[in-house]
Amino acid sequence: MSKPAHAPLVEVRDVEKIYPGGTKVAAVRGVSFSVARGEFTALAGPSGSGKSTLLNVIGTLDRPTKGEVLFEGAPVSRLGADQLADFRLRALGFVFQAYNLVPVLTAVENVEYPLVLQGAGYAERRREALEALRRVGLDKEADRLPDRLSGGQQQRVAVARAIVHRPALVLADEPTANLDSKTGAALLELMEELNREAGVTFLFSSHDPAVLSRARRVVRLADGALAGEETRDA
């Protein structure tokens, strides 16, 4: 994939996603917007507005029925399964609402997994994973299994896993939805800090006004379509 000069990090072009079935439902309808490198952007909208579907399409976890997603100017939506996996491994990090850590791996082993898939040696990946855990304040819990961590700690581990391989973009689907307000706020602070200090680009979804208030840019969805956009000063 060649990189056109000054291309946005992500460009969503007229994306539509229709789920097949008896009654075809258009989860996303003709959405276009872009995300520049270094942004801290939220996808806002009520439940069922298409936020998760759009994040899945941007994250190449799902293919758009129509339209295209470009990453650094290159189309990625139609790549083959292996190419998509390689692309996600290289360029993306994911944080899920339900943490989704591998339950049989310790915190540090979960964090180093993207590096395992990249083929990094043990010493290198362990060093990088511990550094990522230190960044999220959990280096002391490195050897704990997920079920020995609180929800907030598990989500921090998930954030560490999402950034350990230094991806260009971290996609977070309702990252604070399963956390209490205090823990959720702490997680958002952490994400902001990573964005500000390490330059990690975040695109996250939420319907919580408190969470959305932390985003510097909010892209609003309603019934699968773009419903507006707000930008705040940093």
Binding site: N56, A85, N100, V102, L117
Partner: protein, 403 residues
């Protein structure tokens, strides 16, 4: 991947233990069955060859009934020389086996006379071990009979009987032999119809001094029969003899072996099917439980092939545990019953035809066991393939939505 696979195997400890145990007991049962059949067959062959057939026989090529050679070898010296040169041979001797008539003042009975060199024959067959009264042959005109035959003839130790057989010139040869001992093998046909006499006396009776009708060998290793047969055939090339192994002569035992092998094969297929279904079930349950997790792994960059390899590796590890445990249990069973013996009523089933004990001493059959281990391991892998392929074909977004 190995670490993740290993921990995945044990994440549902009880299920994996049950699965590994079913593989282990399946394999142990297979090994036990293989060993039992092979041991039974080996004992059968050893008893048959050790009682009368011998492991290799050299006969005139025109003999029609290999068990009752009706043609004589006039000069066995070249055979003896060729046999003596082969270091794989434990012992070899010429003998005559011939249907004859044995008479006492009370009655006459048709018997199979086996005329042997008593000293050498002891190393080839086991008949000297079955003495039930008196002693084994030593020479002269000794007569050694089955105890039932002695009773039929109403013949007691020290008493005389006349053996009659067709001599070389067509006349009826006859001579008097003295009963020096009786044997009891528990085999109806042996104890009731076989008479042992020293070879020189019987050769004289037949008017065939120095002649034999079969030359019998015992080898140091029974598995060498085919190789020794080939060597002797080439050493005796051009001479009017043929070399036969017990397999050529004892068709019945070969038939029994083939029948047992066929039964064992059916049992193996059933056990393999049970093992395969167990693993398939485990892997499918594990797959359904972990669909979301596969979605996570795919989202962080795992290729479909990687997911496939992960599941196959888990199965391989579970298979290795099952095979290791099964090998240990199977080997322990074989070792135990190899020492203590396994009492089975098979002796009665075979004893009409030949002496056979009712205790089977198990011995390992490593080639067959290795095949069973490899087959169980391969089945563990193959039965994981359908769920592994299914997992590899999951779409990440759908997998992540899976509850």
């Amino acid at each position: 991947m190995l670490r993740l696979a290993w921990r995945n195997v044990w994440r549902n400890r009880r299920r994996s233990l049950i699965n590994a145990a079913s593989m282990a007991f399946g394999l142990a049962a297979i090994m036990f069955g293989q060993s039992l059949m092979r041991s039974l067959q080996s004992q059968l062959v050893e008893k048959s060859t050790g009682s009368i057939t011998g492991q290799i026989q050299i006969q005139d090529p025109r003999v029609e009934q290999m068990k009752m050679p009706d043609r004589f070898i006039k000069d066995p010296a070249p055979i003896a020389a060729a046999v003596a040169r082969d270091p794989r041979v434990l012992a070899g001797a010429g003998r005559i086996t011939l249907t004859s008539l044995i008479s006492t003042p009370q009655t006459s009975v048709g018997v199979l006379v086996v005329a042997v060199d008593p000293a050498v024959q002891e190393r080839i067959t086991d008949m000297s071990r079955y003495v039930s009264s008196g002693r084994y042959l030593s020479g002269g005109k000794d007569l050694y009979l089955g105890d039932k035959l002695a009773r039929r003839l109403d013949l007691r130790l020290g008493e005389k009987a006349v053996i009659m057989a067709q001599a070389a010139d067509g006349s009826l040869g006859a001579d008097v032999f003295r009963l020096v001992g009786t044997f009891h093998t528990a085999s109806e046909s042996f104890d009731n119809s076989i008479a042992y006499v020293p070879l020189p006396a019987f050769q004289a009776l037949l008017g065939r001094p120095g002649q034999i009708n079969n030359y019998v060998l015992k080898l140091k290793d029974l598995d060498q029969v085919d190789a020794v047969r080939d060597s002797l055939e080439s050493a005796l090339k051009g001479r009017p003899v043929r070399v036969l192994t017990w397999k050529d002569i004892d068709h019945e035992i070969l038939g029994v072996e083939q029948f047992q092998d066929a039964i064992l094969d059916v049992v193996l297929v059933v056990v393999f099917a049970i093992v395969a279904l167990g693993i398939l079930n485990t892997q499918l349950m594990s797959l359904f439980e972990r669909v979301r997790e596969f979605g996570v792994l795919m989202s962080i960059g795992a290729r479909p092939r990687w997911i496939l390899r992960l599941i196959l590796t888990e199965s391989a590890l579970l298979g290795a545990v099952g095979v290791a445990a099964g090998t240990a249990v199977g080997a322990a069973l074989i070792w135990h019953f190899g020492r203590a013996g396994l009492p089975l009523p098979v002796g009665q089933a075979f004893s009409y035809f030949l002496p056979f004990p009712s205790v089977i001493y198990l011995r390992p059959s490593w080639g067959a066991h290795a095949f069973a281990c490899a087959a169980v391991f391969a089945i563990a892998l193959l039965s994981a393939l359908p769920p592994a392929l299914r997992a590899a074909r999951l779409k990440p977004a759908e997998a992540l939505r899976h509850v």
